[in-house]
Each structure stands twice: as structure tokens, then as C-alpha cells.
Symmetry: C2
DNA sequence: ATAAAAAGATGAAATAATGCATGTTTGTTG
DNA sequence: CAACAAACATGCATTATTTCATCTTTTTAT
């Protein structure tokens, strides 16, 4: 067994965004405490980073990679709440709601991150209310994002929902008009709330109409404005 | 004009649940400050209590009545996020996210409530971290509720979604198997994410099948288990 | 009290979405 | 490298949902 202090670091904490932000609010001694109770880990594609139903005793600061927030319902069907790329704090809603995770987080490509002990974080945050408020901003930010996702599901047809998914992936995850999906068609369908076939049909229709080109996992958006129109009116 | 201190009280603060809970965490002097910066108000059916897009400078503790959380999208369509009855703290997500309201709250029947000044609440909460944590529980509780709503919209057909709406209203709002709706069919459709006609069709089908009886605004559930089955498999 | 407007109800036609059958491609494993 | 499984693709029949037209009832305003 490798003792934590002897375990080789995957990356240097000094360039970690979480450290940089935290240290605007807490002193280095406090951050040291936080760091000592944290563990760096690698996650392979498909691995669970947080598990729905499990005890929420830590958060994860995602240093590298892309993850999906997955909700498994009573019928065994999956719903993807959102897709997020690093850097990002995963499970932040659990800071204040000690209990069990209400969703899972899975790596959709190889990831690196750091497990942060919630009791320790809480202890430090309670002594530094500015820091606490900063953390709270993250929680409500996530709530806000999921609300917009909500609108898409409730009011748009599959056309519009898939346009929304493509727009979201392009602008917020891959940050390019041309990208290679790390998600399967099935996962896209779990994100858009429709059948797998419908995703495939819709994407190939978009392809035929010259809005984008699809070749396996590679997507290239040709007409972003048209996609926005479909999102709005579809 | 009636000066605030001369304005007749609609109800006595000493029996207010918000006071009772708050005073478990803060002292009476602090609560006095909170009370002095608050205003009791009556809201008629249909009136806005919080307005989407407006500045979020206060929360509302709902003392009496039922409200809907309404989201208006860019196309002017409404989506009802949830329906809540008193007692309940409205807009709690805004405590920590100062900015504009991301949804509106409307009275669906005559309501009474108390506007609570956010800056004052925040000031006091920061000095009493137990109180702060209690408030945070409310925020994450609301997030959790909306997630389950999400699943219903994403994975169920109209049958199941309407069963969900009826179950929710029966168990969480009216707390009886027989109740008189304070919502129109249009509002039900905005809650279930479908067309108004579909709500009417589905309800009358449920009626024909003996699951419940509908007579205008009066609904009586006869076979709750069957409704749960439809929710699960529909 | 009456007219006008809004809400509720119903059925039928048009559109959208799913589920199935079938075939192809891609990736994995012995 | 062959065999198998998983993912992707396509068309079609079935089912679900919306939209529209029409009518009745309830509510609101004058």
C-alpha cells in the first residue's frame, strides 16, 4: 500500500483552480488542512465518480475530463441532467445537504480529480463566510442551469431538444463548431429525453439538410443560426 | 398613507412558523430586526408574488394559500415548475444568488405572506451559521423536488405525467383524496408539459375508467394504486 | 341581467414519436 | 484473425400527441 503522503501527485496543486479561488477567501494554513484531507484520483471512461444512493461524504473537484450527471429512475431508465467539463466542482449541492447523492456522476472520458472531504470543507467554510458564499454561488448556479434544461424538455419537440443538446455541447463543453463526441447516441437520447432511434433520425435529417455533418462520433456544425432557430421554434 | 408600524397586522407573528423556526437559531433581538424590516401582505388569486426578471431583494414567507412557480420562456410559453402550499419560504434560492428572479411566483388562490428583506436576513444568517445551514437545507430541498419533476417530464408519456400531477396535488398540496382544484386545465397542462386538450382528454379517460371522478374543478380519486401504476409504467 | 369572454369538453384529421425488424459498421476478445 | 457483441443506421407500422373545428358551460364585465 502506498501511504497518502507518499502517493505520487497526478498534478501540482499550485496550479489548481480550486486552490486559487479558495485562497482568495481562506488562509494557507486552512487550505493546507483541506489539501491534507483530499486525495487525487484518476477515473477511466465509464467509471463512477459519485454514485447515486451512496453516502455523500466528499465532493470532487474535476481537474481534467468530461463527466455526465446521471439520474437513474425506479424503472431503471437513465436521465442525463447535464454534461460538464473540467474545471468544475462536482456534487456541490451535497455540501449543505448531508445525506445521500441524488444522482451519479460518471466519467465520459478519462478524468482526473480530487476528492474533497465535506466535513473538513464545511468546518473551514463556517469560519470564513465569504468562502461559504462563494461555494453557495456554485450550488445555485447549477440549479439555474438545470432549470433551462427543464424548459427544453417540457416545451420543445425532439427537433428542438436535439438542437439544444448540440448547441450546448458545442458552446459549453467542446467549445468549438467541430468536435468528436465522447457520448454514444444512447447517451444523447438520455440527455434529450427521447428514443435512441429518434436521435439517429434527427441527426441524419440535420445532416441531409446541411445544418451539420455527422460521421460516427465526429460532428461539424455548418449552420449554427439555423440550429438556434430550430431550438427556438422546434 | 399608513405607516408600516401603524399598519394593522394580518396575523400575529408569534404563531408564525418562520418565527418559531428562526428563534431556534437566532436570539429575539435579531429576530426583532428581521421582523421590523418585513411587511405583511395579502395577494389576490392571480397576483404575482415574485416576478421573473425583477430584482430579488426579498423573500416571501407564505403564511396562507397556494402558489405556482412559473417560468416564462422566450416564446411566451409558461412552464409550472411546482405548486406549493403554505407554510413555505418562497424564493429561498435568491438568498445566496443575488440578482434577478429566474421564475415568477403567482397566487393560485388568495394568499397571505410576509416579505423578508434579503440583505437583513443575510446579515443575521452570517452571524449565526446554524441558522444559515437551516436556510440552505430549504434551498437544496427545493432543488431535490424539482429533480423528481424533471424525471417525470423526461421519461413519461402524458398519461404518466398527468397521473404524477394528480398524485402530487393530492398528497402534497391538498392532502386529501378529494379536492377542489384552484388550477385551470391550462395550468395543469403547463405543469404536465402537454396541450390543454390532452389534459382534458386524459382526465375524462381516467374518469371513464373509474380511476377518479372529475366534475369541473372537483376531483375525487377512487383508485390511488391504479394511479401509481400509471405513473410508474405510463 | 345580459353580452362578451374565458374555460371546459369532444371528435376527427394531421403530425410526431416510438418500437420493431433488419442490416451495417465498429470495436472487443479469445 | 475469426467470432461475437455493441453501437449505429434505416424504413415502416403502430401509437401518442397536437391541432383544429365546434359546441357547451362558466365567469367576468358593463
Amino acid at each position: 500500500m502506498i501511504y497518502p503522503e507518499k502517493r505520487p501527485k497526478l498534478y501540482n496543486c499550485d496550479t489548481c483552480l480550486f486552490k486559487i479561488i479558495s485562497c482568495q477567501y481562506i488562509n494557507s494554513e486552512e487550505f493546507k488542512k483541506l489539501q491534507d484531507s483530499s486525495i487525487q484520483l484518476r477515473f477511466k471512461k465509464g467509471e463512477a465518480i459519485l454514485k447515486q444512493g451512496a453516502n455523500a461524504s466528499y465532493l470532487v473537484f474535476l481537474q481534467k475530463g468530461i463527466v455526465k450527471f446521471n439520474l437513474e429512475d425506479e424503472m431503471g431508465k437513465n436521465l442525463i441532467l447535464t454534461i460538464t467539463k473540467s474545471p468544475s466542482l462536482l456534487g456541490s449541492a451535497n455540501i449543505f445537504y448531508e445525506g445521500i447523492n441524488i444522482f451519479s456522476v460518471y466519467a465520459v472520458e478519462d478524468c482526473e480529480g480530487c476528492l474533497i472531504d465535506i466535513p473538513m470543507l464545511k468546518q473551514i467554510a463556517l469560519l470564513n463566510t465569504d468562502f461559504l458564499m462563494k461555494l453557495l454561488e456554485l450550488v445555485s448556479g447549477m440549479f439555474k442551469t438545470s432549470v433551462f434544461n427543464f424548459i427544453s424538455l417540457a416545451h420543445k419537440q425532439v427537433n428542438g431538444r436535439i438542437a439544444d443538446v448540440i448547441i450546448y455541447l458545442s458552446t459549453s463543453v467542446y467549445q468549438s463548431l467541430s468536435f468528436t463526441l465522447s457520448l454514444s447516441r444512447k447517451e444523447l437520447s438520455e440527455f434529450a429525453g427521447c428514443s435512441t432511434e429518434n436521435v439517429i433520425h434527427t441527426l441524419s435529417r440535420f445532416h441531409k439538410e446541411g445544418i451539420l455533418s455527422v460521421e460516427g462520433k465526429k460532428i461539424e456544425i455548418h449552420d449554427f443560426e439555423r440550429l438556434q432557430k430550430i431550438s427556438k421554434f422546434g
